[in-house]
Subunit: 393 residues, 2 copies
Amino acid sequence: MINDKMYELGTKKSTIRTIFEFGRKRAAEVGEENIYDFSLGNPNVPTPQFIKDAIIDILNTMEPTAVHGYTVAPGNPQVRETLAKSINERFGTNFAGKNLFITAGAAAAITISFKALCETHDEFITFAPYFPEYKCFVESVGGKLIVVPAQIPDFQINFDEFEKAINIHTKAVIINSPNNPSGAVYSEETITILSDILRKKSEEFNHPIFIISDEPYREISYDIDVPYVPKYYDNTLVCYSYSKSFSLPGERIGYIVVPDEVADFGKIYGSIAGAARVLTHVNAPSLWQLVIAKCAGKPSDISIYRHNAELLYNGLIDAGFTCNKPQGAFYLFPKCLEDDDYAFCERAKKYDLLLVPGKDFGCPGYFRAAYCIKTDTIERSLPLFKKLAAEYK
Amino acid sequence: MINDKMYELGTKKSTIRTIFEFGRKRAAEVGEENIYDFSLGNPNVPTPQFIKDAIIDILNTMEPTAVHGYTVAPGNPQVRETLAKSINERFGTNFAGKNLFITAGAAAAITISFKALCETHDEFITFAPYFPEYKCFVESVGGKLIVVPAQIPDFQINFDEFEKAINIHTKAVIINSPNNPSGAVYSEETITILSDILRKKSEEFNHPIFIISDEPYREISYDIDVPYVPKYYDNTLVCYSYSKSFSLPGERIGYIVVPDEVADFGKIYGSIAGAARVLTHVNAPSLWQLVIAKCAGKPSDISIYRHNAELLYNGLIDAGFTCNKPQGAFYLFPKCLEDDDYAFCERAKKYDLLLVPGKDFGCPGYFRAAYCIKTDTIERSLPLFKKLAAEYK
């Protein structure tokens, strides 16, 4: 009667969802303040004041039909020019408005990119640990997601395994740096090696292999440079979102950059437009297009994330955990104190510490702790992490 | 290198787009005021003041993280409760929040519904004249769109042809009343007969056949009742949008109603959630969810459309055209003065009258004139319609 695959996708609870619901239940029993919920990647830094100011200014100065009317599918041309200019100022690139396609956030941007590129038998490669929705999005457009095992312990790219995975069917590689869940930022060296391999393999297989650079966490990095991928590799599509940088995850606004240098600009941009059309895009929310143009280049306030990152990192190290120093995004990805990450996260629940097993990100033996939560909660959680660690001594 | 089907969908210009671009070119040559562009279905009634007031009130009184944060995928639970209550007050239904799934407009609502329902070999039936994007949306989810020829001259449903088209593969029937492009509203009799046939056929084929009621023009009708379909037929999904009622087409906000009475509520609602997930939904824009809840039940101002409808209708009749009285939406759908609607619309261009051939809506020999434009433009166009008609005398 219905599409069973859709039913499964719509009703099968994710681990994160299950943990979240457990947390809600426990909060009702023992009180909100006694739950240490590190499970959700929801920005907790308030949306900046300049966003509110921009909205009110637009409403007060523009004709409502111009504010709320349809835009062309790729987005308001002036908005795209403004964003292109802002990107150019920052990265020394040379984009124009025609290189941008404004989308309803990064989920739309990457899925549209997958659908635009995907032909029969195509494979898309990503690197563990990875955002699990990639699998569902790639499969929904008829592609196959290949996951390259994690590079332990630095969570850069495991190139030996990557060279084994890449083949004639590889259409694109999806990277996500700063990374959810590892908190790692891919170094210039990593991007350079990746680009070299892809150039060599594109030639060998006689077709372009793309990088889809999923960058919702670009602005959240700590004293470390996040390389701008189109400067290293021509066949790059950048998928950006304002969800994290401006704390607007519910508003669904972002974009795809299609550089002039991609293998065939007209073909790719045209396919993106077609993919957007059947993915119910019409246009990205029009008021939000105007708001992000007005706020282009404004800084993201990451001071809270930085503080939380240090606090949690130091606390975990002090408690005896092994963990990389936070480089970006708002996650730590420490090693569990036993091999079975599911068992470890279950044990953590005893202390109402809600953590996500690494296996869900293709990297068993680790756990994800999202520190985009109240600083006070993190402070009060540290003795509990110590107690948890003591169980393993 | 790319998905050729997506390229075709993204680059093949629609007739409407071609006419629109012709209009832009002519406007540059002869001046904006000398172009009579009846081609686009863009609301021209200004977005009501209460929308602006609602936005500002929300921004001033709520926490920004609550305004702009993720909502659950089906939409903010309180918003859904409010909308359900408002629908119940109006139509005497008995919906709760759980019966609503908030979407990014009607295009998303109908495509999500198609994807949720569509299994291999499924067919979806619609009635000419029809919104041409249905074909692209249905095919994108793997279904086949069957078009039942128009019921001439009243543009209700041609039930003889419908009974020939319906078969064991029929999954759903898509109706759009008030109708784009005919301006007709399906009568209570039409909905009753349709429901009776569908009940009979569902029994005969031993599976439910759904009505997907695409209702972006629900609020725009002139002294005529628009039957609320779930009251006549259990297996109905209502797809609503605020694009036309509140002049918010660019903001992408609407919903799907899934009544308790559908064949299997849990299965269908679950499939809708899964379909939304792979169609890059995440959640409908969060600020807009709050705005529509705040404005639930507020009236749509259709006085301009009503005035324009009468003006254009009387003018066309006076010029010798055959045309049904406008019942709803913001289109007239008169008979062309020659059999070939493309040739007729080409000839109209001589007078800078930009009209859309009925063939594009599956109904050759007619043309669509969208009257959601300046009243003054319509007034000044009437002598030109007379001149055009005179050519055929």
